[in-house]
């Protein structure tokens, strides 16, 4: 074959049909670029102060919008706590701005690695010898080296990228010190600011403050977000405010699953599943809807959306029996003749005095992919929030992983809060993700402080990409599971979007007896880590399994809404070796079955002509029998709770039952509405509005807004 033939083949092969670009993507790209362009123009050095001010003023609300998602823009959702959070948001934005400034000024795109005795370095780039005046100056500006941190210059491209993303390439220090190693004190002097930043701050302060970022400490403490107060009063330098907007899209991974189907009782009378208190799906869906896009169907897990909300089920009285089931049977709002069976469980809530001590290790992903405003900065803020939920005697250690894993903070009592905060704030993102290695280190740290009477838990915060080392999910699972048996639990906090690997995160948390939560906004962090800190931190029951046996005399067919990824085999129920979901203090779990009574005309499945139906006499008033198995946290043998569900459990579609139904309906409509008939977003909104009741945190109001957004997004979507 001669060269021309090859070239011709190549042309034919490469020059195939190219679909025309998606107009929405095109619009978005151009709009973002224009925004970046305008920001760029506003920062031209000779531009007047007026322009800079304007830019600063635009930058902060932009930030807040990002931090709060759409919430902050809408009336009614801010009622209870957001104003305070807003201030702390401003404050953290300032912290972050400084952090970003640091990154830009001291060479964007350095890879953070940490040198520790005994910790192997596994970086993609080689460490390079220290050199360059600028670096020496920087090194002088910082002092004592507690753990030793090296910033390895990555290639120039990252710098270019960062300047494109954040605007203002001029502010990036020149390339002369590329390839140098700078040392920064991580634990000791987090407050020290390189000279470049000081200059900017001084200049901005002279220009007159436009935004006050300090608030009284007390107010901030009350808001549960202990962050303001550290921030230099004055203004945010315009040029260190990143431009929100850059997002990776399209590589989020979810496990594909099929919705539970309507099952005839005569064929399979028993349904078994594991409890699930995760809420990640709801946050992810919210994030997509707030961007005006319908979520991919596999991202919608009905049970996680339902369980996002707290329901006022009857509380158990004793710790030994950690929960009591509540049952309600109502008419289905989307199918005449069918009914919904709500099974609700509320976990026992631990009294403050009974709280065990916590030994926590934060394992934070600082890889390059976390270098986005909704990732590492939000991680830091979230962890700081969690700190506020802890007691002074609890201990916290921080490990990070990127190209290599390293300890940033040895186990430190929470009362030394400043030390912890300093360590946290000194982190920046860069490099690939040696997650597995980080996980090992985190467990080692937890083991070093292991206390059998305490809660020993690793909090993993990541965008989900483990790409170096032990990346086989099975191996990771096994590892996490072994550690769980040794008494160290794992919770996973997911961040960001673009390459979020939902399935891996879920699996890890499930194997680690922890929750998997997706933190999309600061207020979500508040919900998970402060308002519901007890549930997140303290398990009250583990391996919680539910089994429902339907009575063929009264029920013709049924289906469980959601819990597809939590289904168990019938025989797993009594097998204590089979792992299942865990429930934390105060958690609520809700499962909803839709079923068709025998007498109803709405049956989807006809009776079998040949198979006999076995009906026992004397149970004509029971729909089903509910069994729940669980283990107390420190026991290995399961306990059983059971109760029949009878005609007397019939109830009206109102209050919490109604709201949970609205959420269930919403999830199903989002997934395509296979069983929900004409029930649409308007019905969801109507039902939710009628039944939202007392809504102290505004979550339910937000839900209604999400349903509205879904309606708009659905209308825009070509079908």
């Amino acid at each position: 074959m001669n060269d021309d033939d090859i070239d011709q083949q190549l042309r034919a092969g490469l020059d195939g049909d190219i679909p025309s670009p998606d107009p929405a993507a095109r619009r978005r790209a151009i709009a973002m670029a224009r925004e970046a362009f305008e920001a760029e123009q506003a920062q031209v050095p000779e531009s007047n102060e007026e322009k800079e001010k304007q830019n600063t003023a635009q930058g902060i609300p932009g930030w807040l919008r990002l931090i709060f998602g759409q919430r902050a823009e809408e009336e009614g959702t801010m009622t209870t706590y957001n104003p305070k959070l807003m201030y702390s948001g401003v404050a953290t934005a300032a912290v972050m701005a400084v952090a970003v400034g640091l990154a830009l000024q001291t060479q964007t795109g350095r890879e953070l690695t940490i040198n520790l005795p005994g910790v192997e370095l596994e970086t993609e780039e080689d460490l390079r010898a220290p050199s360059g005046d600028a670096d020496e100056a920087l090194a002088r500006s910082t002092s004592r080296l507690a753990p030793e941190v090296s910033y390895i210059t990555e290639e120039r491209r990252r710098k270019i990228e960062a300047s494109a993303l954040y605007g203002r390439p001029q502010s990036v220090a020149g390339a002369e010190d590329e390839g140098a190693t700078v040392r920064l004190d991580i634990a000791g002097s987090g407050a020290s600011v390189p000279p470049g930043i000081q200059e900017i701050l001084a200049k901005e302060a002279a220009a007159g403050p436009q935004v006050a970022v300090t608030r009284s400490r007390q107010e901030v403490v009350q808001s549960g977000a202990l962050r303001a107060g550290y921030v230099t009063p004055g203004t945010l330098p315009a040029d260190v405010i990143p431009q929100p907007g850059y997002q990776e899209v399209g590589r989020d991974k979810f496990i594909a699953f099929e919705e539970n189907r309507m099952t005839p009782v005569s064929v399979e009378p028993v349904s078994t599943f594991s409890a699930d208190v995760d809420t990640a799906s709801y946050s992810f869906v919210r994030r997509m809807l707030n961007r005006g896009v319908l979520p991919q169907p596999d991202a919608v897990r009905a049970e996680e959306m339902i369980n996002y909300f707290d329901y006022r089920y009857a509380l158990p009285e004793r710790k030994a029996e950690p929960f009591a089931p509540s049952v309600a049977v109502v008419d289905s709002p989307w199918a005449d003749g069918r009914k919904l069976m709500h099974i609700g469980i509320k976990g026992y809530d631990i009294a403050p005095a009974d709280k065990p001590r916590s030994n926590l290790v934060f394992l934070l992903d600082v890889s390059g992919s976390m270098n986005s405003p909704d990732k590492l900065p939000l991680v830091k803020q979230s962890m700081e929030m969690l700190l506020s939920s802890l007691d002074p005697n609890d201990t916290v250690a921080i490990a990070v992983y990127a190209g290599a894993a390293g300890m940033v903070l040895e186990p430190t009592p929470v009362k030394e809060k400043q030390k912890i905060l300093d360590a946290m704030r000194s982190l920046s993102a860069g490099g690939s993700t040696a997650g597995a290695q980080g996980l090992r280190l985190a467990y080692e740290l937890a083991e070093s402080q292991f206390d059998a009477s305490a809660i020993n838990r690793v909090f993993l915060a990541t965008d989900g990409d483990f790409n170096v080392g032990l990346t086989n999910p099975r191996e990771l699972e096994g590892f996490v599971e072994r550690k769980r048996e040794e008494g160290i639990f794992l919770s996973v906090l997911g961040f960001g979007q673009g390459n979020y690997r939902d399935a891996l995160m879920q699996t890890l948390a499930q194997n680690g007896n922890g929750v998997a939560a997706y933190i999309d906004t600061l207020s979500e962090a508040q919900k998970v880590l402060v308002d519901e800190a007890n549930s997140t931190l303290f398990p009250i029951a583990k391996d919680v399994k539910l089994q429902v046996e339907f009575n063929p005399a009264t029920v013709a067919e049924y289906r469980l809404i959601g819990y597809e990824t939590r289904a168990l085999n019938r025989e797993d129920f009594n097998n204590d070796a089979v792992d299942a979901g865990d429930i934390g203090a105060g958690h609520t779990v809700t499962a909803i079955y839709e079923f068709t009574p025998v007498s109803s005309e709405a049956r989807l499945i006809d009776d079998s002509r040949y198979a006999p139906t076995l009906v026992r006499d004397g149970y004509g008033k029971e729909y089903a029998h509910l069994k729940i198995r669980y283990k107390l946290p420190d026991e290995d043998k399961s306990r059983l709770i059971e109760r029949p569900i009878t005609l007397q459990d019939g109830s009206k579609l109102s209050g919490d039952t109604g709201f949970a139904t609205a959420v269930a309906g919403f999830a199903q409509v989002l997934k395509g509405g296979r069983y929900t008939g004409d029930f649409d977003y308007d019905d969801v909104i109507g039902l939710a509005q009628q039944t939202k009741g007392d809504d102290p945190y505004g979550y339910r109001t937000e839900f209604i807004q999400l349903a509205r957004k879904a309606k708009t997004a659905a209308a825009m979507q070509p079908r």
Partner: protein, 179 residues
């Protein structure tokens, strides 16, 4: 071209509308290249978006020394390379959707899939071959133009193409893509 020049000058002096018009005019070119590079629309959108954002900061450095399209190609090639580097860890995964996307009815589907696969492997080859191939064979640039985009010597472009043909031939003869 002269329209472009006027727009570029306006944009360089801070006119956001001109900048937007410029992007409107060239988005499709950027997208086309990104699509060929990545083999699927989602990634192509990603790359193009980054290229657009990058242009916001970089346009002021355009000095009219080369044709604007040459300069644009340079920007998008760099974005694509950055993107590939960031995605390096996903190479294996990226392959499958690319194959699906190349679907269609014509006989060259198979060939395209084969090429795509080959291109994936090319990342292990000396740097620069992939973009050189795309510029010359897919975008129809001359060796000289491609050299200008990539800021290399023309002979380097020729060498790269030669190098690729060599391996391509080997791969065909071997019946597989053992590079």
């Amino acid at each position: 071209m002269t329209d472009d020049d006027a727009l570029i000058r306006a944009a360089q002096s801070g006119d956001a509308d001109a900048f937007e018009a410029l992007l409107e005019a060239h988005y499709d070119t950027l997208y086309r290249f990104a699509y060929k590079w990545s083999g699927n629309p989602a990634d192509a959108e990603d790359i193009t978006q980054q290229a657009c954002i990058k242009l916001a900061g970089a346009l002021s450095s355009y000095r009219f020394e080369s044709a604007f399209t040459t300069w644009l190609y340079r920007v998008v090639v760099n974005c694509a390379k950055d993107w590939a580097r960031a995605q390096g860890r996903h190479v294996g995964e990226a392959l499958e959707p690319a194959l699906e996307q190349s679907g269609g009815e014509s006989a060259n589907v198979e060939q395209r899939a084969f090429l795509r696969q080959l291109l994936e492997r090319l990342e292990e080859l000396p740097e620069g071959i992939r973009e050189t191939l795309l510029l010359v064979h897919a975008e129809g640039l001359t060796h000289g133009e491609a050299a200008a985009v990539l800021e290399v010597k023309e002979s380097t472009v020729s060498w790269r193409l030669h190098e690729f043909r060599k391996r391509y031939r080997l791969a065909l003869d071997g019946g597989g893509i053992e590079l």
